[in-house]
């Protein structure tokens, strides 16, 4: 039997900023091992070009455009935290905070209102919807989503939690306030709002399931999402990121239901952020897939 020639590589790793030689490995086999100096793997960014994109864990040394002496550049990404941890924390906060305001825990409103409940039924409905929304998000984080990256920078958790928890407190304060004013058009308005909200919650969930099914467990492959048998996914014909479209719809429904300006403001800020994300995702779809459907818009059909 002929022996297969095994190619060994020499690998040197330089700091991306100072170009100091950090590490030299003189006999590396097929896969580049993740080396640890003081930084755990999730913090390490190894790249072929100091200003270029990071190599992925799956990249194989033999398939990279390097000679037999490979030079890589290392960048420390800073303290990292897992996406799952961030999502759970940022969603658990609003769930609990809203409930604190709903049950009128002491020191929020005047003492005579402590532990009382609102006399308006829409306030109870709003609490159920808000809580349902965040429970759904928590469950999706645990059981549905498949994340491309394992981690994000640590400072993101402070930024994200401030945003979610802050807005939750601001909205919940007014909705559960003893002087809350129910919607102007009463039951009609609330019924319409609830319909929109539920429709978009189901829609959002359908999209998450569809996106999950695009990707086999443990893989990080990327494919174009297409409409499935579920009618809620037919929106893929017109939009690249329908999960954001449905999310916007849910919050518009909640705004209509509560007729509360802080909720409208939260919806607006969320919409702006999601539009930025949707446009980025749409652009990367167009870059990656030559045959990407041309009818699709990033987030709003034909508009945005």
């Amino acid at each position: 039997t002929a022996r297969k020639a095994v190619v060994f590589f020499e690998v040197e790793i330089l700091d991306a900023k100072t170009k100091d030689k950090l590490c030299f490995l003189d006999k590396v086999g097929k896969i580049l091992p993740s080396f640890s100096l003081h930084w755990y793997p999730a913090r390490q960014s190894i790249r072929l070009d100091p200003k270029g994109k990071s190599l992925k864990d799956e990249d194989v040394l033999q398939h990279l455009p390097v000679g037999t002496t490979a030079t890589f550049y290392f960048r420390d990404l800073g303290a990292q935290i897992s996406w799952v941890t961030v999502f759970l924390t940022e969603y658990a906060g609003p769930l609990l905070i809203y409930l604190m305001f709903y049950f009128r825990v002491p020191f929020i409103y005047a003492p005579k209102y402590d532990f009382t409940t609102s006399k308006h039924w829409v306030v109870h409905l709003a609490c159920m919807c808000h809580s349902f929304h965040y429970v759904k998000r928590l469950l999706e984080t645990l059981f549905v989503h498949r994340f491309s990256h394992g981690t994000m920078p640590l400072r993101n958790i402070f930024k994200n939690c401030t945003y979610y928890w802050g807005f939750a407190a601001w909205m919940a304060y007014y909705i559960n306030h003893p002087l809350y004013t129910p919607p102007t058009y009463g039951e009609q308005q609330i019924r319409l709002a609830l319909t929109v909200f539920l429709f978009c919650q189901i829609g959002n969930f359908s999209i998450h399931i569809a996106l999950r099914n695009l990707r086999p467990p443990g893989s990080k492959t990327r494919k174009i999402p297409y409409p499935t048998k579920n009618p809620f996914t037919w929106i893929f014909l017109l939009v690249s990121c329908p999960n954001y479209t449905y999310e916007l719809g849910s919050w518009l429904g909640f705004t209509l239901m509560t007729q509360c300006l802080p909720v409208a403001f939260f919806t607006l800020v969320g919409f702006i952020q999601m539009t930025v994300w949707a446009k980025g995702k749409h652009r990367s779809y167009l870059k990656e897939f030559r045959d990407y459907p041309t009818l699709r818009s990033p987030i709003l059909p034909f508009i945005l």
Binding site: H177, Y180, T258, L261
Partner: protein, 225 residues
């Protein structure tokens, strides 16, 4: 020479000419703008000195110069536009925040809360602003004319060391003085219940503004430009 090559160079020349014309227009406009603003703040300075020499007191001085101050400070909003269209190489956000903080003081504090217009702190920050702006706009003007006297350059990079903290003190003291009047009048505030289920208390908003001076006015952005 093939005609294809000739066309190429003609097109290039046309775009270069267009760029050069745009550049000249921008420079001309900016020069005019900075001269006008230098003149405006000089007028303000002269008016303040004259008033004080004539009346011997600072009482009523703000009322006297209020219109001119509001006009030139508001006009500075154009600078955000300059950054947005790229004829000035500064971040839109940094310029925006700086101009907005000035507009806020002028329109939402000293203009709306008449009782504090005779406070010494008002004179303090107006004087500081005047000196700072005259220096800044004349610096830009001379830069655009490619002839920068050393004195102006020195003033621009050194006076802020004294002017900046004095200005901050003047502004903070003014806001602080306005608090009792804001509380009593309930101005710019919205109470519950209302159909939009929101409330706003200008009194607490002003307190938050005062507290935000600590991180905001300490940031490095403010220590240059």
């Amino acid at each position: 020479m093939a005609s294809g090559e000739e066309d190429g160079t003609v097109e290039e020349k046309e775009t270069n000419n267009k760029k050069r014309t745009k550049g000249t227009i921008a420079t001309a406009w900016l020069t005019f703008y900075n001269i006008a603003m230098t003149a405006g703040w000089l007028v303000l300075a002269v008016a303040m000195v004259r008033y004080y020499l004539q009346k011997g007191t600072h009482k009523g001085l703000y009322r006297n110069i209020a219109r001119t101050l509001k006009f030139f400070q508001t006009f500075a909003l154009l600078e955000v536009g300059h950054c947005a269209i790229g004829i000035v190489r500064t971040s839109v956000i940094v310029t925006g925040v700086q101009v907005c903080s000035r507009i806020f003081m002028v329109w939402f504090v000293t203009n709306s809360i008449r009782q504090i217009q005779n406070e010494e702190s008002v004179i303090l920050f107006v004087v500081v602003w005047t000196i700072t702006e005259i220096t800044r706009y004349s610096f830009y003007t001379f830069n655009l004319l490619n002839h920068l006297p050393y004195f102006i350059k020195w003033a621009r990079y050194n006076m802020f060391i004294v002017m900046y903290p004095l200005g901050v003190i003047g502004e903070l003291l003014t806001i602080h003085a306005s608090l009792p009047y804001v509380r009593r009048s309930g101005m710019y505030s919205l109470r519950l219940p209302n159909k939009y289920n929101v409330s706003f208390d200008y009194y607490y908003f002003l307190i938050i503004v005062m507290l935000s001076y600590i991180p905001c006015k300490n940031s490095t952005h403010n220590k240059t430009s």
